[in-house]
Amino acid sequence: MNSKSVVITSMILQMKQTFARNMFKYCMFIAPILSTIILGEMYRYAPQENFIAFVVLGSGLWNLWGAIAFSSAGDINRERYSNTLSMIFSAPVDFRLIWLGKIFGNTILSICSFFISVIFAMVLYRIPVQVYSWGLLTLAFALTIVSFIVISIFIAYLLTLSRRTTLFMNCLEFPFILICGFAFPVELLPNPIMYLSFIFPPTWAVKLLRSSIVADAPDYMHILVWLLATTIGFILLSSLLYKTIFRQVKIAGTLDMA
């Protein structure tokens, strides 16, 4: 009972705080529009199928990723500077529940920016809505969100270890967008990087979304299996790391700035 309420109150608190920030308006409205224009110009002469897959979806995912993972990483930083990170960490309830709540809060807001970006792309470039299977698309979208949440929990855990989070954070956003094939297929990447990209669930999530849009949904099941496998892999990895990381955090004393 208390666990559920911790997740929910942390989520609400997170959203209240986000609304109180000015940066939020940029992330919510301006960023989706900018990313749509950038990708739209890149794919101006591409076939319509690619246009939907890489511009409409691509910019939507770009923003979804930015808002879930990027802002969760930013939260670690902010909470460290305001010394609330060490506070919530030393509270009786499990830190994992608190953090999950925060990520849920970010997720709800980022789904909004995903749709803003998708609608903007469709209006700006006058794309007709053509989807092979709405059912498969919905499933793919739900799994995409789950996989993003899993990755951002993983990142947040790692970031508690170091005070140089700002640096890592900035290193994370764009490489991920490129590596995971948000803007172009990962098959265009050099081989070693392409194989690296297969480790991360978002790569498969993106493929799955695309597959549900184009005709016949080729490979849908195959991709789905990979997505589930990598997502579960990261869940296991995070839960294994949790104990070690949070011992280490107390040994290193990196939770606050004092």
């Binding site: 208390n2 309420s5 911790v6 109150t9 942390s10 608190l13 209240k16 705080q17 109180a20 920030r21 305001s82 010394n83 609330t84 060490s86 506070m87 919530i88 960490f89 030393s90 509270a91 009786p92 309830v93 608190i98 011992r247 107390k250 040994i251 290193a252 004393g253 939770l255 606050d256 004092a258």
Partner: protein, 319 residues
């Protein structure tokens, strides 16, 4: 069983500097302190900036791991058995950090009540009481970022009491409070203590430490210089009495009297003010004899304060 049990406690920090060539340096923040606090006690930790007070508290509240030694609260190790401790203790840190500044005072308290598993049915009423107690009832619903330093500190105090802790740790809790606010806080500490809360506090205000604490430890560079009741610490100090005298003329030879350990003088409006620390009754009579011929404007004698004893101890340790 002591409520707090610390034995040979050590904490080192490793800091790295330099971007290219990384230099590692070890700071020995706490170097082997031992003490225990019994149920119902108020224990004070005094010492200069950087002495290791906050580090010690962080280890006690399960925030930081000891490098070595024993660190137990309520019989459990603070590193490894955190779960058994956390809902029974709480802490108040001085300063403006440690709150969600974009949220209101009430929202902060509600959230922390949730994190400290405060039952829902009594929560809102208790929060109202806490807000009343720290004098913030009328600003409870405005954002903390609009608060003054002292008001923020009051929210921290309320937050620290949210779970009605068995053990309360206070790190410079009166920092930034006005005299009345500090008085209120001392009242809150005494009241909580009367209800059975064991308290460990740090402060730079010797008067406060003397008033509140049953026992005091004086820490310098991570080691204890003394640990005793305030009365015993004062009794051990060389200074027995401090005389505060205002005269029309400065009798220059007071410092040479044997048994006078320290003289501070200042001039203002043609008058000389002296603060003379005397180690014996004999020294007092000799001082009186010396100032006899001059016109005495005011005279006050004070028995030794904790501050005198503290300064002597800490200075003595540096020499």
């Amino acid at each position: 069983m002591p409520i707090i049990e610390v034995k040979d406690l050590v904490r080192d920090y490793t800091i790295t500097s330099g971007l290219v060539r990384r230099n590692k340096k070890t700071i020995n923040a706490v170097r082997g302190i031992s003490f225990s606090v019994e149920r119902g006690e108020i224990f004070g930790l005094l010492g200069q900036n950087g002495a290791g007070k906050t580090t010690t508290i962080k280890m006690l509240i399960t925030m930081l791991a000891p490098t070595s030694g024993t660190c137990k609260v309520l019989g459990y190790n603070t590193f490894g058995q955190e779960k058994m401790i956390r809902d029974k203790v709480n802490f108040i840190f001085g300063g403006e950090y440690g709150l969600y500044r974009r949220l209101s005072a009430r929202d902060n308290l509600k959230y922390f009540a949730n994190l400290y598993k405060v039952p829902l049915d009594t929560r809102d009423k208790y929060i109202d009481e806490l807000l009343e107690m720290v004098g913030l009832s009328d600003r409870a619903d405005t954002r903390v970022e609009t608060f003054s330093k002292g008001m923020t500190q009051r929210v921290q105090i309320a937050r620290g009491l949210i779970n009605n802790p068995e053990v309360l740790f206070l790190d410079e809790p009166t920092v930034g409070l006005d005299p009345l606010g500090a008085e209120t806080l001392r009242g809150i500490v005494k009241e909580a203590n009367k209800r059975g809360t064991t308290i460990l506090l740090t402060t730079h205000n010797m008067y406060e430490a003397d008033e509140l604490c049953n026992r005091i430890a004086i820490i310098k560079d991570g080691v204890f210089l003394d640990l005793d009741t305030p009365a015993n610490i004062k009794a051990r100090s060389d200074t027995k009495t401090t005389l505060e005298i205002t005269l029309t003329k400065n009798p220059l030879n007071i410092a040479t009297i044997s048994g006078v350990s320290h003289v501070a003088s200042s001039e203002k409006d043609g008058l000389t003010s002296l603060r003379v620390s005397c180690q014996s009754d004999n020294a007092i009579s000799q001082v009186l004899a010396v100032i006899e011929p001059t016109t005495i404007k005011s005279f006050k004698n004070e028995v030794a304060t904790l501050e005198d004893a503290y300064i002597q101890l800490v200075k003595g340790a540096s020499e």
